[in-house]
Subunit: 341 residues, 2 copies
Amino acid sequence: MTALTTALAAPQVLERCRALVRPALEETVGRLHPWVGEMAGYAFGWCEAGGVPAAGSGGKGVRQALAVLGAEAAGAPGRAGVPAAVAVELVHTFSLLHDDIMDGDAARRGRPTVWKAYGTGPAVLAGDALFALAVETLAASPKGPEALRLLSAALGDLVRGQADDLLLAARPWTGPHRVRPGEYRATAEHKTGALLGCAAALGALLGGAPPAVVAALDRAGRHLGIAFQVVDDVLAIWGDPAVTGKPVLGDLRERKKTLPVLAALDGPSPAAGRLATLLESDADPAHVVTLIEEAGGRTAALAEARRHLAAVETALAGVPLEPAPEGELRSLLDFLVRRDL
Amino acid sequence: MTALTTALAAPQVLERCRALVRPALEETVGRLHPWVGEMAGYAFGWCEAGGVPAAGSGGKGVRQALAVLGAEAAGAPGRAGVPAAVAVELVHTFSLLHDDIMDGDAARRGRPTVWKAYGTGPAVLAGDALFALAVETLAASPKGPEALRLLSAALGDLVRGQADDLLLAARPWTGPHRVRPGEYRATAEHKTGALLGCAAALGALLGGAPPAVVAALDRAGRHLGIAFQVVDDVLAIWGDPAVTGKPVLGDLRERKKTLPVLAALDGPSPAAGRLATLLESDADPAHVVTLIEEAGGRTAALAEARRHLAAVETALAGVPLEPAPEGELRSLLDFLVRRDL
């Protein structure tokens, strides 16, 4: 598959899945208390604060697409995966709402976060409402118990990942209590991979897939999540801020424990020692970037992302999947991760 | 049953159920991320901030007792209701954690609330973790799908009740937008009744009760919740602060929309008009109390509580229940509500 067809295919796949899921998602959110429903609509990008309809589309909708493609890969029509898609989008939005409170983030996708626009208390409540709605959605589905086991495992991982993320921020760069690359990997799997894996696995489950296929798609989504997080962290340092939409070297200024830095510190290069000294002073982030690269942090991070992409391929290759949706899954992989490797 | 045996029985019932549920609840909470688990342990009253074990017992454990008695009333051993008991205690503690953030409450049961002790962000996370654990607990139970339908209905009601509670606080006492007694009733059913009903119904479900019994116990718990809330609001005005543990006339000072006031304003007495004028000025709460009583607010509230207790009796009488646990359910009713009527 050439880069050109890939680049065209993935946005169309995302758009097709968004269009398929949107009516059910709107109907589900419409069952909420009106005030809470407005906050949810704001979080999804459907309206402005106050309820005026908005043109913005919200996020890319990767999770709903994985759920729809999971069902199709199992040989079912995409609509079989819609309850899974609705549930994972509700859970994803719940986790964004609450994480923005915990991280004190004031803006998301160019707008004030929900807690900034509506207040902390109401934002906590809106997140809880979306969470409850996700459970209700799956409890009503024909594969309820197994679906809810998958969802609650992902929810447990999300909480674990967010707890570790908050704790890693307070840990030192060096010394016996320093953060190791393996801890970054576990946190990325829990925070990002678990829900991507759950999305694809839930879709496959509702599409009637056998357990081996459900497990393979879960595994694939988890590795995709780690690869995506690593690439995101690499782009936050070396990417074009006009494309990433993130402040220049923001992660380094906030002293986030991302893989390029951790891998550089963990490596054998003499630059690692100088990097450690620099990080413990209040050094200029631009100098830090040079040393991360010199100590092999960028190379190591990209190699790690490639290893997880290969693990995605292995997981997908090990089970029988319908070729057309499998191709679309691969085009999403290319779009989300590979084009930046 | 005399008042004396009633007063003795209920604390013993609560203690028996707490002892039956505690090992499973501790085992379940022990599966959490250690930091999140410490916050949960603090919320349950098992430890102090920092993790040192505490002697305090936390709450009365009404919800876990209803779940155990629900199973026993269906003819099963109490242990059949333990997963239900664990789930409802987790959900109850989750809702206290998040409600304390929303309401800005700094103290609960004589200690700082979780957000005061650990920070708002961590308290949001700990609540989410307990919520996820409740779903996981029921997803693993043999009656998973039906159990999760009951739980997610209660969760939806909890969110709806909390949203209405936050909105009612901002509404006026008089005029076309004033709060009506019926809105109070709906809010009390959602905030308090739904989870009490869910507790008893879930216990019965796991105890193998037929749908009519499950529905009757749900209904009984919802009416119990309203009666309990009304009595609590009456005691907050006319009760002994040494017994209630609440600040003198705190609800009136905070201008809470409780039934005694709403019923007084809604009544035909000439005192209602004077009460309205007083409430719209910054009047002394002690004067307000006299007018609420004169306008019939206390009498109307107690009559409302008695109506809901009668509805509990009707619900219990309409289905076959094992006599011993039914007697214990009634002793809980007396202990929680009737002794104050």
